[in-house]
Symmetry: C2
Subunit: 208 residues, 2 copies
């Protein structure tokens, strides 16, 4: 199904909200319950569902369990998603130590670093030398990489890993990378996130 990034982000939010509703003991929900939980309107919820052919019962709403199955299947959460982290520095290490991804069915299969002193094959997420990445990606069928290397190294690394079979990159380096053919690059740019927040806070202060 082809759609927009925002729509898929909403599906993730619906999924998360439904788990919370389920934990509260609910077994069914209406479009406006979910809308409230996620912070959108009921029309958006129903529209999104209709895009993916998800239907409920008129007057009866939707079954949480059924919906979660559908959402999980759409989002690929019905199977373990293995990723690698490249750059075992501050942020890379934080990510590798984070337990939250496992709960989401995302497993960091390994970290990679160019610095031999970072290599550690026996840590919970093994950290391997960069040279081994190609073989690792191939043998484990990895498609997704998280890129936490210094900005000057980022483009070079993207070119290497996409040639090795990586199809999607979550890039933390604060620059726009040229994406090689067939490779999606999403960016997490914390400097820009902060700048943005600063702007809107300042605007709010001024107009007040």
């Amino acid at each position: 199904m082809i759609t927009t990034k925002n729509c898929i982000i909403r599906l993730s939010r619906y999924k998360n909200a439904l788990y919370r509703l389920q934990a509260l003991g609910f077994v069914k929900f209406f479009s406006d319950n979910l809308a409230d939980a996620v912070g959108v309107t009921a029309a958006v919820v129903r529209k999104d569902f209709s895009v993916f052919g998800i239907s409920g019962n008129k007057k009866g709403g939707y079954q949480i369990e059924t919906l979660l199955e559908k959402l999980n299947s759409i989002l690929g959460k019905d199977r373990l998603q293995k990723v690698v982290v490249i750059g075992a520095g501050h942020i890379g290490s934080a990510l590798m130590r984070y337990r939250g991804f496992e709960k989401e069915g995302i497993k960091i299969a390994a970290g990679f670093d160019i610095d031999p002193s970072k290599v550690n094959r026996s840590s919970p997420v093994p950290i391997l030398p960069l040279e081994e990445i190609k073989g690792f990606i191939k043998s484990h069928g990895i498609k997704i990489a998280v890129l936490t290397v210094p900005d000057i190294a980022a483009q070079e690394v993207v070119d290497i890993i996409s040639a090795s079979g990586i199809k999607g990159v979550l890039n933390f380096a604060p620059l726009r990378l040229k994406s090689p053919e067939g490779c999606i690059i999403n960016n997490v740019n914390l400097e820009i996130e902060l700048e943005n927040l600063i702007y809107f806070v300042n605007v709010m202060e001024k107009t007040k």
Copy 2:
């Protein structure tokens, strides 16, 4: 000036791209140069500029230096922006050790944690007990907080800090917080970022 989040993100990107052009020795640029560098169309660049009353010279383009001054002033980068980090765990520590924010005129004035063993008043970014946050925010005039506490603590902390004067929060906890009156909350949700990437990579694979 009131506008959209996307527009301000583009301004940040223009700024960053202009610094790169400047480093390459350029002193002026045309809307299509900048558009290429940022990955938008020239019309968008000129539209964004016109929103903020930024004008260039017909046939002559824009002066990089002048433009940077204007963009920096719009984005509040003409003065040091102080922020605090709350939750000195894995991700909070990574942020506090990161030098990249300083280059952007963003200073992490302090970190805060509820765990006494995390307190360290003599580290480059001092880590203080949570109890001191209210006084610190007030005395330093801090408006922005980065929230890196466990998800269950996040809402409580937001309520405390917004009551203490925080106007903008960059939240890393993977849940939707209720934003108190007059407080903007932006989210960095890495689980969702990864889910999103996984979805589009899977879709690409299937339709290929």
